[in-house]
Symmetry: C2
Subunit: 148 residues, 2 copies
Amino acid sequence: MDLDHVYMAEALAEARLGASEGGIPIGSVLVIDGRIVGRGHNRRIQQGSAILHGEMDALENAGRLPASDYARSTLYSTLSPCPMCAGASLLFKIPRVVFAENRTFVGAEDWLARKGVELRNLDLREAREMMLRFIAEHPDVWNEDIAV
Amino acid sequence: MDLDHVYMAEALAEARLGASEGGIPIGSVLVIDGRIVGRGHNRRIQQGSAILHGEMDALENAGRLPASDYARSTLYSTLSPCPMCAGASLLFKIPRVVFAENRTFVGAEDWLARKGVELRNLDLREAREMMLRFIAEHPDVWNEDIAV
């Protein structure tokens, strides 16, 4: 169990919080110099939000940051980041993205890799099972979230 | 003066509204079947938001939409869309993106084009001059917005 798993446990806690609110169970934290500076979870159902994926919520909650802060950051997400969230991490030049699984959804990993972002997939069963449960129960909401 | 200019005039109105609030003057509208379903402008200064670029604000204000709605939409922005906003339009599979200029900033146009999104640059002086004025007066805020 390395540090990535420690921070991912916080992203998973956010995902569970989202699930407890009846939302899509995807959580995220932004870490700079070993400190969590932003955390969040998908708010589609809770706030009727089209753009507040877990990663976007964490980035928003981190507030306005200078480029020099993002340059030292790692973005953790319980799911492989979609094109919007991948694009946000590229905009902010976040050098490293760690996700908990990509079996239920493969985001824009190829784009991130091509742009030189370091990626790590922890392939965690807990994250996958939370997503599988939600998708089985609310396929319509999940499809809406990824515009399928 | 074709329809793209008519909708872009609304995005420009949003940019001017942002400027009048002391914000970064970038505006956007989302159009479906000839109707503006969402409009917005950059909220970095006004709301301390890291993610509410003009396009993201318009997408958020459009609310939760089914994929079939996005599939018939065009996203208008007064500036070439950054990686985050380009990624959002790819997530939602928005087939067409029109922007007012790309002389002050070139976003992720190559990524959009590679993914088959139809792009049109109206190259409007008004949009460019608004950006140049803001960048000259607030270079620090602009650099923060694009993580430079």
